[in-house]
Structure formats: structure tokens, C-alpha cells
């Protein structure tokens, strides 16, 4: 038995819990390039070393076998995998056709309270600047 070829390199990455709006500080534990767990961040201004059960288990869904790893094209509930670039082109073409035929306000965009500020900002920029509509919202009321 030898661990010679195994990667046990260990790092922690300071980040914020992905669940509720409290925003507790956490450290993601990474062993050999894989997430292995979560540690509470001491000295964090909100949580100072506390996490709830959801926080402590936040890493569990990351490596779920159900994670989407390919773009899909769907028809009547059936999906087939397509290349990423092809999927992006399909979306851009549909968006262009809709704008040309029905105007910008026939498009709508739903951003996400789960995504980052940067991503939500870009979604808003896509709607307002690229397409030209203010039809953008997210689940703030839910």
C-alpha cells in the first residue's frame, strides 16, 4: 500500500455560504482538487465561527451526480446533448429573431438571487443594453 501517487494537497478557500441572506463566512476545504467539506470562518463580521446545518452541509450538492455537465436541446420533454457553442448560437439566433419580428419587449429575462452581483448585472445589461427591454426581474418577492 502506498499513497505515493495520490494527491492529498489541502487548501481552504474563503467564501460565503450559498444558502440564505445572512451571508455567513465559510472556508471551503479542498483536498486533491475536490471539495471535501466546509469550515466556519472565525472572525467573520456576521457569523464569527458559526454556521447552521445548511451551511455545514453546503458542499454536499456540489458534486451531485445530477449536476448538468452538457448543454441540452429539448423537444416535447425529450432532451439531447449538444455542444456548448451550438447551444449558445441557438439562443442568440432565437433572441435576434424575436427582437426583429416582435420588438425588444417580446423578450424577458429572469435573473437569479442565487447568482453573483456580477452575473445579475450582466443579465440586466443583456436585457437593457443588448436587447433593449426592461423586462428583467428575479424572485425578490418569494
Amino acid at each position: 500500500m502506498s499513497d505515493k501517487n495520490l494527491d492529498f494537497s489541502y487548501t481552504t478557500v474563503p467564501t460565503i455560504c450559498p444558502y440564505c441572506g445572512t451571508g455567513c463566512g465559510m472556508l471551503l476545504e479542498v483536498i486533491g482538487g475536490k471539495i471535501s467539506g466546509v469550515l466556519p470562518m472565525k472572525g467573520h463580521p456576521v457569523s464569527d465561527g458559526c454556521l447552521c446545518l445548511k451551511g455545514w452541509t453546503a458542499h454536499e450538492f456540489v458534486s451531485s451526480p445530477d449536476r448538468l455537465a452538457r448543454a441540452l436541446v429539448g423537444k416535447d420533454g425529450d432532451f439531447k446533448e449538444v455542444g456548448y457553442t451550438e447551444a449558445v448560437a441557438l439562443v442568440a439566433d432565437a433572441m435576434r429573431e424575436t427582437v426583429e419580428n416582435h420588438g425588444p419587449d417580446s423578450c424577458a429575462f429572469v435573473a437569479s438571487a442565487r447568482c453573483t452581483n456580477e452575473e445579475n448585472y450582466l443579465m440586466s445589461k443583456l436585457a437593457r443594453f443588448a436587447v433593449g427591454t426592461n423586462n428583467i426581474d428575479h424572485c425578490a418577492r418569494l
Binding site: 478557500v13 444558502y19 445530477d66 449536476r67 441540452l72 432565437a94 447568482c115 440586466s124 433593449g132 426581474d137
Partner: protein, 527 residues
């Protein structure tokens, strides 16, 4: 939140309403318990028994939908007994005369009858709240998810203004935001009526700043909210819909309506990390990435902008969500979507957003910064409104109760409230894939009082049918004293028994466009 989470532990009185804090914001509940341990009085206004009620000085159980009544009753007592903060009211507010006049003939006994809280308890709670040096109001969706949710919030703001509990440490009006970055998504303009930092799209000056930065005219007419988007899909007005990281097929009210709407659009794009109930209806599904795979920022409920950092790569062909948006924008033919990092995007946000303009990744580090943070040497803002309000003086609003709002329909004698449990999260796509969490509360249930259960011949764990004018579902009964006779509660996380199928999306709060998820007429039948 006007104030910060940590300040809660130094409050003298905490008025908590419409928040099951221990379940939904456990670490914040910890701060509330710290305060109680130090001698603070906790006043809880909630129809249900929750974990924190066992630590409360008073638990006042209003009838669902009568919040304006008890809040006005507290103010009536405070004004009548001259317990208001006169100096604050005189120097920092306007509209007090109108408020006071509107309460002149207000009868505490009548209020007690409507809201179901004894007049003597209303009086005692009012005194405790008004006599505190530092009283903090904490609320969540039990207050906002009503067709009069905005008026509920205005009523709470009145109470804080009347007692001078704004603009100081451990006071304030503090909504607890439910999602990790719902505050941030609002801050950066993922809303139909505002650009970043709540700059209105129909304000020519604000929009002009963006137009000169982007080099292009932007639309000035406010867009549609999420529920309005769904309606417009059904009417054939929306033909292309792009949903990123949301699962309205579980979380939106009136699921049948949502499904029809999503099926009606010509082209539906869903970008997510799982093939959600919503993604299953899409024409194209794009594989996004989760928080552990990306750099960026989240803004928490106390306005603290914080860094998240990439720990691992996303699986397979999955991409960072901001890269997918840029790729689509470029394929669409749009310029100005060339970014090499999330930091570059953040710097653009900071440039266009006065409340974020002093922030940078370097400064956020591991502690974050609370907005407003208008300049690079500004330390961030722990609590708002220290010296003034955005409009100058704090404005009292006369808020009156509408008895119509509490009416049940024939054949639907129960009030159904939907909500959450601590071991699950929103539509469950993440939390139900966590073994430890799924084990704790694996399925949906309906809380029903022992009295109602006995009357209807229902035993604990029996399967029952819950019917509303909008739909029906079958769940197990959880017979518990947590709810009173006439009231039932269902958590909405579970796709096989989605509580939102029961909720209607036709009647909305006129300002916030929120629907009533805390007052839905229903009946229960044995399944």
C-alpha cells in the same frame, strides 16, 4: 436591513414578526438569543408557535392578515399614553398630525376583536416597545407576502419613527432577506424599474449615465415583474424567455398557471446547475456553475458586499454563468461584453453605482463592506438614516386596515399559510440533494391543530387532501399545537406536493406585485 445583524444582540427590545428566524436565518436567531440572554425583551407577533416563542417575553398571536390592526393599536397606545419620542418626531419626521388624527377614534377593544390579541396585551407590548432605549423591529415574509404587504411594512416603519427607533445602533426596521443574494440582485438592477443602486429607469439623469457609459440609448419605460412576465407569456406578448438560476415551477404562486405560461413561449432558455422542474420545459438548457466554482460577490441582508471565491472547476461543459451571458451577447452581435474576470465586471458596477463606488475586490477581502460606500476611503455604513432619510424627513403614512383582506370564501374555512422549514431551502434543488438535510425533513406535510384534526377525524400522519380555489394537493397531516384551529401551514419546498399550486397569482400588492402566500382560503378532506 436599516441596521446590522450584529447589533441585534445589543437591543433592549426586539419586535419580531413574520419571521421563523431559527429555521430560516439560524445564525441571526443566535444574535436574537444573545440579546435575550443579556436581558432584552423579545416580543413575537406570529400566528404560529415557532422555536423562538419559547424564549419570548410575550407571544402575541394575531389572526392571519390583521397586521395593520395590531401595529396601529400599538401606536394608538403609544400616542395616548404619550410614550412617543417627541424630539425625534418633531425634528426628523413629518406627517405626524395626520397619523395621530387617523388614530383618534381608534378603539383598542375593536382592534383586539379583529386581530385576536387581548387589549391588555396590546397595551403592555406597546409600553415595552416604546419605553425601550433601543428597540429593533425584525420582520420577514409573514409581513410582506400579502396583497397589502407594502402597507404592512409602512405601518412598521411608522412604529419605528414614532418611537425614534431609527438611525441609531440596535434599532431600525430590519427585513431578513431569504436568499443569499436577493439583496445584491436588487442592488445591481435585476428589477424591471431600476438600474444599479435603485436608479430609476425613467429618471433621465440616472439613465443618461448608463447611456454614456454604454454608448447607446436605453429603454425608459419600466418593464414587467416576474408574475407579470408569466401573464404576458400566456397572452402571447412574451415570446422569448431566458431564466437563469431560478425554479419558478416550484417557487412561483399558481403553478398550473406558471406551467401554461412557460409552455406558451416560442423559446425558453433555462440556465441552471440541475435539470429543474423549470428546465424540463426549456428549448435550450445551458449548464451553469455553482457558487463553489466561481469568483464574484454576494450582498447579504445587512447590505454587506462579500467575496465568494472559486475553489474547483465546474463539471464537463458547464461554464461560469457570467461567461455564458457574455457568449450569448456576443453571438447576438452586441459589443461591450468583453470581460476577462468577474473583478472587471465588479469594477464596472462600482463605477455606475454610487452606493458601491468605493468598493473593490481588494477592499472587500474577507470582511466585506456595507453600502453605502461612496468613496475609496469610506468605511462602509453599519446603519442607515443616522442624520437624515433619502427624502429628508421620515414620512408617516396613514395605513388603514381593509376588512376585505381577511375574508374567507365559502367552502374554504381554513386560512392556509405557506412557508419554509430549516432543513430545506426554497425549491429544494440544492438542499434535497444533501443527504444530511434530506434525512431531516424528507417530505411535505400540513400542520393542523388537534381540535380541527379531531373534528375532521384526521390522525397524525394520515394522508389528507388540501383544496383551495386554485388547486389541490395531497400531503400527510402533522397534528400539532403550532397552529390554531382554523389555520394550517404547508412548507413549499417539495416538488411532489408543491404548496404553490394552491396559491393564486391574480391578486397582487399594487406596489410590490407580491401575492398572498400567508392568507390562502383552503379546506381539508381525508384523502
Amino acid at each position: 436591513m436599516t441596521n446590522s445583524i450584529g447589533e441585534l444582540s445589543d437591543a433592549d427590545v426586539i419586535l419580531l414578526t413574520g419571521s421563523n428566524t431559527s429555521e430560516q436565518h439560524p445564525v441571526i436567531a443566535g444574535k436574537i438569543l444573545d440579546a435575550v440572554r443579556k436581558g432584552a425583551k423579545l416580543l413575537i407577533f406570529d400566528p404560529r408557535i415557532i422555536h423562538l416563542t419559547s424564549f419570548a417575553h410575550m407571544h402575541l398571536r394575531q389572526k392571519p392578515g390583521t397586521d395593520i390592526v395590531w401595529i396601529n393599536a400599538l401606536m394608538k397606545v403609544i400616542i395616548d399614553e404619550d410614550l412617543l419620542d417627541r424630539e425625534f418626531v418633531n425634528s426628523r419626521t413629518e406627517g405626524f398630525e395626520e397619523l395621530s388624527r387617523s388614530l383618534e377614534n381608534y378603539s383598542l377593544e375593536r382592534a383586539a376583536e379583529i386581530c385576536g390579541i387581548e387589549a391588555s396585551d396590546l397595551r403592555e407590548a406597546a409600553r415595552i416597545f416604546a419605553m425601550a432605549d433601543k428597540a429593533s423591529i425584525v420582520y420577514c415574509m409573514g409581513i410582506t407576502q400579502h396583497v397589502f404587504g407594502t402597507r404592512n411594512v409602512l405601518a412598521l416603519a411608522n412604529l419605528a419613527l414614532l418611537t425614534g427607533n431609527v438611525g441609531r445602533l440596535s434599532t431600525g426596521v430590519n427585513p431578513l432577506r431569504g436568499q443569499n443574494n436577493v439583496q445584491g440582485a436588487c442592488d445591481v438592477g435585476a428589477l424591471p424599474n431600476v438600474l444599479t443602486g435603485y436608479q430609476k429607469v425613467d429618471d433621465d439623469v440616472a439613465r443618461g449615465n448608463f447611456e454614456s457609459a454604454y454608448g447607446k440609448k436605453l429603454p425608459s419605460k419600466p418593464g414587467l415583474t416576474l408574475i407579470e412576465i408569466m401573464n404576458a407569456c400566456l397572452e402571447g406578448k412574451i415570446k422569448f424567455l431566458y431564466i437563469m438560476g431560478e425554479n419558478p415551477m416550484i417557487t412561483e404562486p399558481d403553478l398550473k398557471h406558471v406551467e401554461e405560461a412557460l409552455s406558451a413561449v416560442d423559446f425558453l432558455v433555462v440556465q441552471d446547475i440541475f435539470l429543474t422542474e423549470t428546465a424540463r420545459l426549456a428549448h435550450v438548457v445551458l449548464p451553469g456553475s455553482c457558487w463553489a466554482e466561481k469568483d464574484g460577490t454576494f450582498t447579504n441582508t445587512e447590505r454587506r458586499v462579500q467575496r465568494i471565491r472559486k475553489a474547483i472547476d465546474p463539471p464537463g461543459d458547464a461554464r461560469l454563468d457570467w461567461q455564458i451571458i457574455c457568449d450569448i451577447a456576443k453571438a447576438f452581435g452586441s459589443d461591450y461584453f468583453e470581460y476577462s474576470s468577474a473583478e472587471e465586471i465588479f469594477d464596472e458596477i462600482a463605477k455606475l453605482t454610487p452606493s458601491y463606488s468605493g468598493m473593490s475586490y481588494q477592499r472587500l477581502s474577507t470582511q466585506g463592506l456595507q453600502w453605502p460606500c461612496p468613496s475609496v476611503d469610506h468605511p462602509g455604513t453599519v446603519y442607515l438614516h443616522e442624520t437624515g432619510f433619502a427624502r429628508g424627513k421620515g414620512l408617516f403614512s396613514v395605513v388603514e386596515y381593509d376588512p376585505e383582506s381577511q375574508k374567507l370564501e365559502e367552502h374554504y374555512p381554513f386560512v392556509l399559510m405557506t412557508g419554509r422549514v430549516g432543513f430545506q431551502y426554497h425549491s429544494g434543488t440544492m438542499s434535497r440533494r444533501s443527504r444530511a438535510l434530506a434525512r431531516e425533513v424528507p417530505e411535505a406535510y400540513v400542520e393542523i391543530s388537534p381540535q380541527d384534526a379531531a373534528r375532521l377525524g384526521i390522525s397524525d400522519r394520515d394522508k389528507v387532501k388540501v383544496v383551495s380555489p386554485n388547486g389541490e394537493l395531497t400531503v400527510r397531516a402533522f397534528v400539532t399545537e403550532r397552529v390554531r384551529p382554523g389555520e394550517i401551514f404547508i412548507p413549499f419546498h417539495f416538488s411532489e406536493a408543491p404548496a404553490n399550486i394552491l396559491i393564486n397569482s391574480r391578486e397582487l400588492d399594487p406596489q410590490s406585485k407580491i401575492t398572498s402566500m400567508k392568507f390562502c382560503p383552503a379546506r381539508i378532506e381525508k384523502a
